[in-house]
């Protein structure tokens, strides 16, 4: 069996008495576009932070490309690209300075860094604002820049925390094509997003986390079949969307429990 690109074993993270991620184990095969879903506060960002070295697990193990991953695993970090929560931008640089800085911190030589910076700025349509500081960028532009920085060193594994939030439809289409291209060339992508249509279109495998515990994991077909088996006979034949699978797994009780705010206009 091929070595998974990402594997977690009993991953747990506590904040005092609160268990944010509880005994989570899963594997992401090499070359897979993997969607990691969950309601707000379910533990998605905490998991992705642990997987990228931004947060230390309380217990459990992480393996990336078959090797144990710790905060000090510098060689492994060279193989990883990340768009973290908050994007990790340096607000007083302009886009080109930022990309060159990131590229060189990943060990690229100056010429390669310059070439890739220009390519990415053109691709992301950020090249026409050469002097504008990142602090003055719109949210969508900042997202595109963060994504450019995450891929500038051509990582084998890419972690994306809400990468399409605030990105316009045209740019989102371009980014999706780029990510699909990376998958076709063998990269592995781990994506969290609240936009289920995007996850459904891009990801071949999905895991769902709820209240810190992994409640579903498998290919879209497997998840669909799993949820369909719980439905009455007449509804089993209909093809379920990811949203329906998601709501069925975690959201049903929440949707029902929302009372109407009668004072709203």
């Amino acid at each position: 069996m091929a070595t998974p690109a990402i594997a977690t074993h009993n991953l747990t993270r506590r904040f005092g008495d609160f268990v944010a991620v509880d005994d989570v184990s899963f594997e992401v095969a090499s070359g897979q576009f993997f969607g990691f879903l969950g309601p707000n506060g379910a533990g998605k960002s905490t998991t992705i932070k642990m997987l990228t070295g931004l947060l230390e697990p309380t217990s459990g193990r992480i393996e990336i490309l078959g090797q144990p991953f710790t905060a000090g695993a510098l060689d492994l970090k060279r193989q990883i690209g990340v768009v973290p929560e908050g994007m990790a931008l340096l607000s007083r640089l302009n886009a080109s300075e930022y990309l060159r800085f990131v590229a060189r911190m990943y060990g690229l030589d100056r010429d390669t860094a310059n070439q890739r910076t220009e390519d990415l700025l053109d691709f992301m349509q950020l090249a026409n604002e050469p002097k504008k500081l990142i602090t003055d960028f719109s949210h969508g532009m900042q997202k595109k820049l963060a994504l450019a920085a995450a891929v500038i060193h051509s990582p084998k594994v890419l972690f994306l925390d809400e990468p399409f939030e605030g990105v316009d439809a045209i740019a989102a289409g371009t980014l999706k094509a780029m990510l699909q291209g990376m998958i076709n060339r063998g990269a592995t992508i781990f994506l969290t997003s609240h936009v289920l249509e995007i996850v459904e279109r891009l990801c071949s495998h999905v895991a769902i986390i709820h209240k810190g515990r992994l409640v579903a994991n498998g290919s879209l077909e497997e998840l669909r079949a799993g949820v369909a088996s719980t439905l009455p006979g007449s509804e089993r034949e209909e093809k379920l969307t990811l949203e329906e699978i998601f709501l069925s797994t975690v959201g049903a009780e929440s949707a029902e429990s929302v009372s109407e705010l009668s004072w709203l206009a």
Binding site: T52, G53, L54, L55, E56, A71, G72, L74, D75, L76, K77, R78, I80, V82, P84, G86, M87, A88, L89, L90, S91, R92, L93, E97, R100, F101, V102, R104, M105, Y106, G107, D109, R110, N114, E118, A127, N128, E129, P130, K131, K132, L133, T135, D136
Partner: protein, 525 residues
């Protein structure tokens, strides 16, 4: 807020440090108030109220100068968060002014004016009402003026072009001031017989001019009222009101722009595709990348540039005038080491909080495959370079004012620096990792959460200086001054080892402080 701040050890330290600093400044204000109160009592006893100007000028200067000199240590509230609420402009302006009342300058100035009021009232109780009214107006003028100056400086420093122009003007100003005194000396040296006459003329002219400026107007209004010259008093008060109104209008113009949601970020530049620029440094790799990034950050922050220039101004101020350090024998002898030690102050916020400017970008250093010691090393190299430039500028200033130091003092100063610089870098790196706070790159004033770090860094700087002074004076007392240089060099070896140790351990410290560091620097970014 107080209870919330005491929930963590860091918060407790922060609150304690803030109380200590506020207490310290209140003591200064109290001393000033008592001194001025006694002087006011003397003046009022002799019914020569016109001389109140001599008391009000120092209050005015302190009120306006303290915010500039203490910009690094004073916490400055950013009220832009209020704009999200449905607040009308008047309420916003009132909030702005109310926060201004918490300024150290207002506290010190207010206590000083209270001293004047109490002193004069004790001498002549009939002055109370008039004094209260006029001094209140004078206080309002000072509050509006200092808030107006800060609001405009903050805005100007945000724009790169203005910053560059102001920087050049400032440098010319400092140079020009340097040349004024020698030029006058040379002029008067040839015309000794006119010297006393001309000085008297200058003094008379200065007195005439100050009569039309706020401290003079305040004193004249009191004096005229005491002499029952109601019209003259009204005229002075009217002029003082005009000054106050002018400060208020200028402040209002600035506040209105902020209220309308004006961004303090860099103004949008022209849209043009530029040819790829050559890099500032030819080096490659992470260290050079961090150095380049730090230089970009420095050149784009008027606040940071101001911090580096402030010690030059202070050294200049203290090296001039009859009370200047360069006019005393001891002061002249040690002007160089004192000036250089003082120039460390320009770097305090960056040496002791060298991750503070990263904001959300702090996460990058946990993602990069670059050992963190290299990041700190690059930052330290930039700080050393800036310190060298600053120390050279201060040395030039000191040498120009007080002549060349003795070769012994020069050598000892250099040896002490070999100890002081690595020691400050080592402690600075430790405090940066354990007590960071987010630096505001576009607004002057000390940020929230900075009091603990600020107090400790000041203590370390004072200790490093005192250790150097103690070594020198103890050895001099025993007649072994020659041993001072070797002792400093041995201490330097220790501090270099400490610095290298901190760099080597930085990844371990960083790992244990990772969450706190990200949360502190990122949550407010």
């Amino acid at each position: 807020m107080l209870l919330n701040s005491l929930r963590t050890r860091r918060g407790g330290l922060e609150t304690g440090a803030r109380f200590i600093m506020q207490g310290f400044y209140s003591l200064i204000g109290l001393g000033l108030g008592i001194g001025l109160g006694f002087s006011a009592w003397q003046i009022a006893t002799h019914s020569s109220l016109r001389y109140f100007a001599a008391l009000l000028w120092p209050v005015f200067i302190i009120w306006q100068v303290i915010p500039i000199t203490l910009a690094s240590f004073q916490e400055n509230a950013d009220l832009s968060f209020l704009l999200r609420f449905p607040l009308d402009f008047t309420s916003y302006a009132i909030f702005y002014l109310l926060f201004g009342l918490l300024d150290i300058s207002t506290i010190v100035g207010g206590i000083a004016l209270l001293g004047v009021l109490v002193g004069a009232t004790v001498a002549q109780p009939r002055f109370f009402i008039g004094l209260l009214l006029v001094l209140t107006l004078f206080a309002v003028f000072n509050i509006l003026l200092t808030r107006m100056i800060f609001a405009w400086i903050n805005r100007w420093l945000v724009q790169r072009k203005t910053r560059e122009v102001l920087g050049v003007i400032f440098l010319f100003f400092v140079l020009a001031l340097q040349l004024v005194n020698p030029a006058l000396h040379s002029h008067y040296a040839h015309q000794a017989e006119f010297r006393e006459f001309t000085t008297m003329q200058d003094v008379r002219l200065a007195v005439q001019v100050q009569d039309y400026l706020p401290p003079g107007l305040t004193a004249n209004a009191l004096s005229s009222a005491d002499s029952a010259h109601v019209l003259a008093a009204a005229e002075d008060i009217l002029l003082l009101l005009l000054f106050t109104a002018a400060a208020g209008v200028l402040l209002s113009i600035r506040l209105r722009s902020e209220y309308r949601g004006e961004s303090l970020g860099q103004a949008p530049a022209r849209i043009a595709k530029s040819a790829p620029r050559r890099h500032t440094f030819d080096g490659s790799g992470p260290v050079a990348a961090v150095i380049e990034k730090e230089v970009h950050y420095l050149l784009r922050s008027g606040v940071m540039l101001y911090q580096f220039l402030a010690p030059l101004v202070i050294v200049f101020v203290f090296s001039t005038g009859s009370g200047g350090i360069t006019n005393h024998c001891l002061g002249r002898q040690f002007a160089l080491p004192i000036g250089i030690a003082y120039s460390f102050l320009g770097l305090t916020r960056f040496l002791y909080n060298n991750l503070g400017a990263e904001g959300a970008g702090i996460q990058l250093y946990f993602l990069f495959p670059t050992p963190f010691r290299k990041v700190l090393l690059a930052k330290n190299l930039v700080h050393i370079a800036i310190f060298i430039v600053e120390a050279l500028a201060v040395s030039t200033l000191v040498v120009f004012r007080s002549g060349l130091p003795s070769p012994q003092i020069l050598v000892l100063t250099l040896c002490w620096l070999c100890f002081a610089v690595p020691m400050q870098l080592a402690v600075g790196n430790l405090l940066s990792l354990t007590m960071p706070y987010r630096l505001n790159m576009v607004r002057m004033g000390r940020e929230q959460g900075a009091a603990g770090n600020g107090l400790l860094s000041l203590l370390v700087e004072v200790m490093v200086f005192l250790v150097g002074a103690a070594v020198y004076f103890i050895l001099r007392a025993f007649g072994h001054t020659g041993l001072a240089a070797p002792v400093f060099l041995i201490m330097a070896a220790g501090s270099v080892l400490l610095w290298l140790r901190v760099l080597a351990d930085s990844a371990r410290i960083l790992q244990s402080r990772q969450e706190a560091l990200i949360s502190t620097l990122y949550k407010t970014a």
